[in-house]
């Protein structure tokens, strides 16, 4: 099949970008979307032009590295699919597509379709961890976790941090991402000691990174390749305000030694 692509080309963070139209004549329906871009890039390299930059790694839909907007939809039109797992059989001959990078103040464009998602790393670094004792590995299943709770923690832990939620959110909010990280640790017994600090620190970092606020449009959960529900946002809000207003102050002894 033959496709027309309008691709956002931008040299660097501070350069002005714009759409460039490419004709891609020999697209096989068996290609993934990224393989189709590989073919385009091969052609551009042979012509002596700069290839289109895009992020990718595993190409199996599990690493969270790839992602851009296709016709205004994060990862393209298929539900529960990253762009590397989107195959060209979902398009037909003559289709014209618009490829844009994730657009958010917190995600500056590095080049073309690749954006800098360090803001996500900073949110995780602020509190997305649990403390564990060093030493020999603990016995498996030593801490009982009800099946339902383990399942819900796992649903939230499915987040691969691709950024589709921010990209598709009309407010460019990172609430689904942050909510998922807070929920996947907060559901489990191992996540309880830091639970209050985690919600406060991660929400504060999210604000610092200039993400917008959540208005519960529900666009993110439809765009999420892992189908994470906006329920995690309600959970984040609850953890946050309970901690902000009611977390216990440090004891006098801790204050003196700290």
């Amino acid at each position: 099949m033959r496709l027309t692509l309008n691709v956002w080309r931008q040299k660097g963070k501070d350069d002005a970008g714009g759409f460039v139209k490419y004709d891609v004549p020999d697209v096989s329906e068996h290609m993934s979307f990224l393989e189709m871009l590989d073919v385009l890039n091969q052609r551009l390299i042979l012509k002596g032009e700069a290839p289109v930059a895009f992020d990718h790694d595993c190409r199996e839909g599990i690493c969270g590295m790839c992602g851009f907007m296709i016709n205004g939809q994060a990862h393209g039109p298929l539900r529960g699919t990253t762009v590397c797992q989107l195959h060209m059989r979902h398009y037909k001959d003559g289709d014209e597509l618009w490829l844009e990078p994730w657009r958010a103040a917190a995600f500056p464009v590095v080049r073309d379709l690749a954006v800098d998602r360090s803001a996500f790393d900073k949110i995780v670094a602020a509190g997305g961890y649990v403390s564990v004792s060093t030493g020999s590995a603990p016995d498996g299943n030593a801490i009982p976790v009800p099946k339902e709770i383990a399942d819900r923690a796992m649903d939230a832990a499915a987040c691969i941090g691709c950024g589709a939620c921010v990209a598709s959110c009309p407010n460019a909010s990172a609430s689904l991402f942050t909510g998922a990280k807070i929920a996947h640790l907060g559901f489990l017994p191992q996540g309880q000691p830091e639970r209050e600090r985690r919600a406060l620190a991660m929400v504060a970092q999210m604000d610092l990174e200039q993400f917008g606020g959540c208005t519960l449009f529900g666009e993110c959960q439809d765009a999420c390749p892992k189908g994470i529900s906006i329920d995690v946002i309600a959970r984040m809000n609850r953890d946050y305000w309970l901690s902000a207003l009611f977390s216990a102050p440090p004891s006098a002894g801790a204050a003196a030694s700290g």
Binding site: F19, A223, A244
Partner: protein
């Protein structure tokens, strides 16, 4: 980080600075306003019980002056918080995406949610007009008499543009609450697989009933059912 615990007032200021705090402020002020519009509608519907009933109800509300002013101040505070916080949240959202998308590909149909700021602004304009019109009588499309709501409503809703603006505004109120009355629970973190779908239905039903309950009065006057 300071090792001393923040004082209660400090905690609230710090809390409001973060966006979750602003969402909680929206939800709490929203629930006050939501409760108020239900009472307001119940009052309005007394127009169908006749002139004496409605005018007596209005006079009864005004009989206790301190209580009346407490209610007015609470409402004014709720409107102020809701308006200011809403504007600042909308501003943060715009700043969070300085470059817009060339092509829009919305997946999740959510007309009510996406028009919250717009319906909110129209409602704010409506509230100002409504108070000047039927509370103070400053704007008089028709003869106005203090504390005679039955006569004031019948007189002014005969003016088609006035009745039209009221009906349009209360329909927007329904749209606003269709999203707001459900999402306020999410904002304060009340979420449960069993109750959240029920809350969505509750919001939809209330939004619909409020839009109908409020617009039935101007429509009844226009069609001559109430005269």
């Amino acid at each position: 980080m300071s090792s001393t615990a923040p004082a209660a007032t400090q905690r609230i200021t710090l809390f409001y600075q973060d966006y979750v705090g602003k969402k909680v402020a929206m939800a709490l002020s929203g629930v006050v306003l939501f409760g108020y519009v239900i009472i307001h509608m119940a009052g309005n519907l007394q127009i169908f019980a006749g002139r004496e009933q409605l005018n007596a109800y209005a006079q009864a509300l005004h009989a206790n002056v301190p209580l009346l002013w407490i209610a007015r101040i609470v409402l004014l505070l709720a409107v102020g918080i809701h308006f200011y916080t809403g504007i600042s949240l909308a501003g943060a959202s715009r700043a969070a995406r300085p470059v817009r998308y060339q092509v829009k590909g919305q997946r999740h149909p959510n007309l009510a949610g996406r028009t919250m700021a717009l319906s909110g602004l129209v409602l704010a304009a409506f509230i100002v007009f409504h108070i000047l019109h039927l509370t103070t009588g400053t704007v008089q499309p028709a003869p106005f008499a203090d504390l005679r709501p039955y006569d004031n409503m019948v007189n002014s809703f005969r003016v088609i543009p006035v009745a039209g603006f009221y009906v349009l505004s209360v329909c927007l109120l329904g749209l606003h609450l269709y999203h707001g009355a459900w999402s306020m629970f999410q904002s304060v973190g009340f979420n449960h697989p069993r109750y959240t779908p029920a809350l969505r239905r509750f919001a939809a039903v209330f939004a619909f009933l409020l839009a109908i309950g409020f617009s039935v009065v101007p429509i009844a006057v226009l069609t001559g059912m109430v005269r």
